[in-house]
Amino acid sequence: MAFFEQDIHDEPKTFLSKYIFSFDHKVIGKQFLWYGIFFLGVGGMMALLIRWTLAFPGQAFPVLGPILFPDTNGVVPPDTYAMLFTMHGTIMIFYAITPILIGAFGNYCIPLMIGARDMVFPTLNMLSFWIAVVSGIMLLASLVTPLGAAAGGWTSYPTLSTLLGSPGVGQTLWTLALFVLGVSSTMGAVNYIATIITLRAPGMGYFDMPLTIWGLWLTAILNAIFLPVLGAGLLLLTFDRMFGTTFFLAGAAATSGSGDPILFQHVFWIFGHPEVYILILPAWGIVSDLLSFFARKPAFGAKSTALSMTAITVLSTVVYGHHMYSSQMSPLLTQSFMMLTMTISIPSAVFFANWLGTIWKGALKFDTPMIFSLGVVFVFGLGGLTGLYLATVTTNIYLHGTYFVVGHFHYTMAASVLLGGFAATYFWFPKMFGRMMNEFWGKVHFWLTMLGLNGVFMGMMIVGHAGMHRRIYNPFVYEFLQRLIPLNQFITISALLMGAAQIIFVVNFIHALIKGPKASQNPWNVGTLEWTIPTPAPHYNFKEIPVVKCGPHEFGNPLLKDKDFQYQTEELVKA
């Protein structure tokens, strides 16, 4: 099935070729992991600054406040606040989730799970990482420019994001940094798509691939098609800022000819809606697999889950207008987008039912990866369903621009993707590092995170419905929002709890790296191909390219004698 067999090359010898400029997908995956975790911390810190300001306006941020904001005695000033929520969004989406779920787990898992020795274009892979590093540096640099970083929201609508609304080089650097990151991700996408098409081991048809790979493949397809759309929009915005073009200028900004700010919104959301599916698809795939693995039962309706994910991938391209109802598009467009958005419910309900079908009548083991996966079922159920309010035009008009939206997308993005990412980390840690993370502290991490997360994002949906709009520095200048002060404080305390819980994860992770118990070759007793090779994996992965003889979810076959699962390389035991 693989189009050709990759050579077993010599192991890299120098420090530079082993750890810095490595072509090995496993190393590049880990590089993306460190990169993503670093930015997750930065973005999380920004979130805490935001939440502090919302709960305790006018009060200095503890410890770091006086250092960061000496001019205001440690209180976050309003223009910095705007930078914080802008950069928080940008960093979390492009510099945390994308590198961790797609860059790290995509890179690490794809060749191993499909039975390949590496990605099909290793040089492109290495370049993709280092270009992402360049982008990260550009973004961080924008924080220390004289007028500060971009502050127009992660959506950076013109004309606020043009020179009129955002003078200074921070916004320009932001735009360019994102373009560069888009280049990096597109390169990665080309690699993933081509690898999955061409290097699957003999016997591995598309529906014999683990659902994790489906998720990553569909994500890569969306990335390859839609990142350039964002790229075009960013280029035109950059030209407006740097070369005086007038694509998006109107009103007072259009001193020399007029453009159309709404055009940017269309271009942005044509990318932006697929982007949110890009972020969640890997997590969906991972959860679909893990639920089966830890229920010791085949994934219920695996093929229909894969097809549902594909249907959602396709549908996601035609629903973007629901982000723009308030810009008053034509009634025909508005209604069409509502109708199309609603259709996404069907495949979503299908794979959700499949998830429940997987654990139904299973023999569930509640290891840390499993409880995180179950957590995803919970938070994505909630988050996904709340999308309905926003798909519907008339309720959207009321809820748009409020914290309800913030609660909804954090449930689906922060909660679901993050929990999925943690599930993946706990699950593949033994493969990546040859040791086991601590189960007890993993479970503590889970429960504290769940507690905190639900407090924060359910709280946000409530305050949003109660009228609190978003991206505001001090909501309490509005009298009708003052009753929400206690709830805002509750949200902040939950956020602090959630943030603190991550310290447990970091400590567990580092401790396990250094002193964790050594992992056996297959600690989870799972049959996918990455567990058929030694731990940690040799640089060439497979000495012999495996021949796949059964699916990835062969658990609980009553005919099996010595173990309750089959490796994908084993002939399926039939009656």
Binding site: L164, P331, V377, I472, F480
Partner: protein, 279 residues
């Protein structure tokens, strides 16, 4: 047992919707949107309520599955898993049924209600030839709201126009139609108490209409990020009885400032009203 307690909790929560007003005495008031002071705003509220019931219904089922299965099918309790892959006819039909059920029961219901509300009400502009409407032009800018009324001659962009800053005054009993634009960046004109908002976009005119029902003082917010002081871009809304409104309007002809901007009537501030017939 689990089911009963879940049901009880649900009913308790839902009972909040039966209560009236926004008194902060009840914690349940937090679950309510601000007081609805419009003729048609209840449509949004009841659709939100309906959607909530439907969502809770399905989410409860999901939780029963999630928690129930986790409990009953843990390895300890249920050591032998069922070796099926969900491809039997029965299972496929069940899943297909669930998918269709969700779509028909929730999605189609909400869509048709919302569509009707949108096309027949919120997006249906009052016929200015048939009924008397109050016309207000709104200009958003960083960081304030300007409102303009046509004045005694009924024509915008003439010397007797009444212009106010952050101070919108409207009567009950008549439809109020807004035409909105922005001077600089994109803002959003939002009146939470009538459940409506629309973007204020430089270079184009957006519109909104509503009819107020309760006199009093309320807030207007900007709900699209527009710069550092976006959070303070508040305007005051005062709803009058029709008589009081007429008095105010007459009085303000002499008091408030007049702005006439003949230069860029179509783009900038001071456009002639655009009579809208049904689109």
């Amino acid at each position: 047992m689990k089911f009963i307690s879940l049901l009880a909790a649900t009913l308790f929560v839902l009972s909040a919707y039966g209560q009236d007003s926004t008194e902060s005495s009840s914690w349940l008031s937090l679950l309510k949107a601000p007081l609805d002071i419009s003729v048609e705003g209840h449509r949004v509220d009841s659709l939100i309520t309906l959607t909530t019931y439907l969502i809770i219904f399905f989410f409860v089922i999901v939780c029963i599955g999630l928690f129930g299965f986790s409990y009953y099918y843990s390895q300890k309790r249920h050591p032998v898993p069922l070796y099926i892959d969900g491809t039997s006819k029965k299972h496929i039909l069940i899943v297909a049924f669930i998918g269709s059920l969700v779509f028909v029961l929730i999605d189609m219901q909400i869509t048709s209600i919302s569509n009707n509300d949108y096309m027949e009400v919120f997006n249906k502009w009052p016929d200015e030839n048939k009924e008397e409407v109050v016309k207000v032009e709104v200009l958003g800018q960083q960081w304030a709201w300007n409102f303009r009324y046509a004045g005694a001659d009924g024509i915008f962009n003439t010397e007797d126009d009444v212009v106010t800053l952050n101070d919108l005054r409207v009567p009950t009993g008549k439809k109020v139609v807004f035409q909105i634009t922005s001077k600089d960046v994109i803002h959003a004109f939002s009146i939470p108490n009538v459940r409506l908002k629309v973007d204020a976009i430089p270079g184009r005119i957006t519109r909104m209409w509503t009819e107020f029902t309760k006199p009093g003082d309320y807030s207007i917010a900007c709900t699209e990020m527009c710069g550092t002081y976006h959070y303070r871009m508040q305007a005051k809304l005062k709803v009058y009885d029709p008589n009081d409104f007429a008095n105010w309007l007459a009085e303000s002809h002499s008091n408030t400032k007049h702005i006439v901007d003949q230069e860029n009537p179509d783009i900038f501030w001071g456009w002639k009203w655009i009579v809208t017939t049904q689109n």
